[in-house]
């Protein structure tokens, strides 16, 4: 019996440790407001639009901003990364031009 | 559900009624291990099953012990048709009514002697401590006390045989089924085993032994001898027991 009690308490201890890490982590999100506010001040001051994550190429630096060298300029939200870009469709930007065909008769009545 | 064994009952404790066992029925490898066996065993009897190798002794014991189901026929335990009971009931009968000593022992080889003895009692509502105490008493009886922690794979054949017998007695069953229990024992140990069986019989247990050991076969302990040949009873007279 002692063995199973021991084992259960080890499992329980592990679970407690894990939850004590995870649960506060789920909440800390909203609490550490000074931390977020400082960063937002910075974002607002410099009008930052992107995380400086992948600076290896110019087209990866500002993911949300289409660029001179971008492959999909009409979709600011599309990913020019493999494999993401091939699998996840961009959300339609909605403000770009549309191709319209009108019949010759209606254009020139 | 422990059986209340009624010594003076005129009704058989176990009744095997027209039982056949066919392995791999309908396939080319079909084996008719038992054909139309009828047999009655009364409480308090010591029945010896004999017969040449392959005659179906082990098969009959496994049917009686609820380890498998007959292809045809019915087996009654105290007038209950056990061969038709659902699996959970059979398991319960196996653990509360029968103590089975297998021909190949069927011990867990990587487990200690003590732990092997405990297995039959896990499903019982008995604390581990009590189980362990029971096991120690039995080990003492079978002079295995010093092997308590030894793994079964390190035991000699005779020692394994004794562990198997001790395990069969763990649940204190009213019926003991032993398949070739003396196969690996020398004359001295065989005599010892017979003494032990005599004691168990004196405690009121019913014993069924399959054997081709003449020493066991001729022993005064045996109250009835049943011979099997090619899956059939060789001597129909003896199938009807009684004291």
């Amino acid at each position: 019996m002692t063995r199973s009690v021991l084992c259960l308490s080890v499992l329980l201890a592990g679970a407690t440790l894990l939850l004590s890490l995870l649960l506060p982590a789920q909440q800390s999100f909203h609490q550490d407001s000074a931390r977020w506010q400082n960063k937002r001040d910075l974002v607002a001051a410099l009008a930052i639009t992107d995380l400086s994550l992948s600076s290896e190429a110019r087209y990866t630096r500002h993911v949300s901003q289409a660029d001179l060298f971008s492959a999909f300029q009409d979709f600011p939200a599309s990913f020019e990364h493999f494999p993401t870009g091939s699998m996840i469709p961009p959300r339609p930007a909605g403000y770009s031009g549309r191709v319209l065909f009108e019949s010759a008769q209606r254009v020139r009545p | 559900m422990t059986l209340a064994i009624d010594h003076i009952s005129s009704r058989p404790l176990i009744r095997v009624d027209e039982v056949s066992k066919i392995y791999h029925q309908g396939k080319p490898a079909e084996v008719r291990a038992l054909q139309n066996i009828s047999l009655e065993i009364f409480a308090g009897e010591v029945v010896a099953l004999s017969g040449p190798s392959g005659s179906g002794k082990s098969t009959l014991l496994s049917l009686i012990g609820c380890m498998s189901r007959p292809t045809q026929g019915t087996i009654y335990l105290q007038e209950r048709r056990v061969s038709r009971l659902p699996e959970a009931f059979l398991a319960r009968i196996r653990r509360e009514t029968y103590g089975f000593v297998f021909q190949q022992y069927h011990l867990l080889r990587d487990v200690s002697v003590l732990d092997n003895l405990l297995f039959p009692l896990y499903p019982a509502a008995m604390p581990m401590k009590t189980m362990r105490e029971r096991a120690l008493v039995l080990l003492e009886t079978f002079s295995l006390t010093d092997k308590e922690k030894t793994k079964v794979r390190r035991l000699s054949g005779g020692e394994q045989q004794r562990v198997a017998l001790a395990r069969a007695l763990m649940a204190d069953p009213p019926i003991i089924i032993a398949d070739e229990p003396t196969a690996h024992l020398d004359a001295e140990l065989t005599a010892e085993l017979l003494t032990m069986l005599t004691e168990l019989h004196a405690e009121g247990r019913t014993i069924i032994i399959a054997t081709h050991d003449p020493v066991v076969h001729q022993s005064s302990l045996i109250s009835r001898r049943v011979a099997l040949r090619h899956g059939q009873l060789a001597d129909a007279e003896n199938s009807r027991g009684g004291q």
Binding site: L11 | L107, M128
Partner: protein
Amino acid sequence: MILNLKLLEYSLSSLWRRKEKNLALVSVYALVIATLGSVLLLTHALKTEALMTLTAAPEIVVQRTLGGRHELIPIAYARTISEFPGVGRVTPRVWGYYYDSLVKANLTLIGIEGYHEQLELLEGRFPQAPDECVIGAGVADAFGPQIGDFLVLEDSSKRRSEFRVSGIFRSASNLLTNDLVVVQEAALREFFAMPAELATDLTVQVYNSREVGTIAKKISYLLPDSRPITRDELLHTYDSLFNWRSGMMLAVFVSALMAFLILAWDRATGISAEERREIGILKALGWETSHVLGAKLREALLLSLTAFMAGLLLAWWHVFVLGAPLLMPLLKGWSVLFPEFDLPPVVDLYQLAVLGCVTIIPYLACTLIPAWKAASSDPDDVMRG
């Protein structure tokens, strides 16, 4: 109750009996969980960082396209846009990239105008003269300047411009500022040789966030060669970039999961003859099918829960204590300026629960089904093998 504990006892001794094999299994299992968990924790943290900070980004960024390609935008557009009702300030931005072939780093140059309040995350001060600049911590690390040193950039006509470093962004803001060089707008304009009537793009302030969509439509209607990018789109980009179903780490996730399933499958189909025999013996000794399955379930649960918890703890340690050194190469690519993260320790319990389900349940199934098969046949058959 007593039966439960006894079956647990049995499971423990059974696990212990095959300790080498089970230890190996737990390690692999935990490693898989740690890999998947690290990916989830890291992407969720990055996503949180993006979504929590970029809410302060401009409501609308207006770019101009020419022939379908990005072009510099006339500052005159700003006046048109600022006359829309509901629109606040419209600010032309000047920014661009600078590639340093020596360090092989790509810098982002941003021009700012006017007076800026002191920021918590800036050590030093914003540039107050045309020859001053503020740099990100990554730039400082790569090139080694301190406050007061000079940053020398060569412009397109090979003319050297010197900027005195007047401030360095604190490393806590690395995810936003790592590769930035901020100078005064006029200075940057001169450095880029950008005509005075043009800007890189415009930022548009909108008072009521519900009108952003309408205003964006109006902009593209009135200025057909412009392309507005709203903050919503920007946040959506980051949401899906780091969404756990997507992202470039999807590949890692899937392959790790596959490896795990193969492992579980292998284990399941390879229920050893020894184990089958054990089940047969237990049945012969009077165990019911439910007892056998109960014991096996406990075994599988003990093993998978231990592995799951160990794996998650490992993932936590890897991501939030060590800073995810093993995943960084994936995110980093071959970029030179890569921020040292100040990751917010945030988790999404839902994701982790899903992770638990997709790993624990297949494992349980893979273990229990063969055991159930063995346990539901006649003990005689099983023992004979």
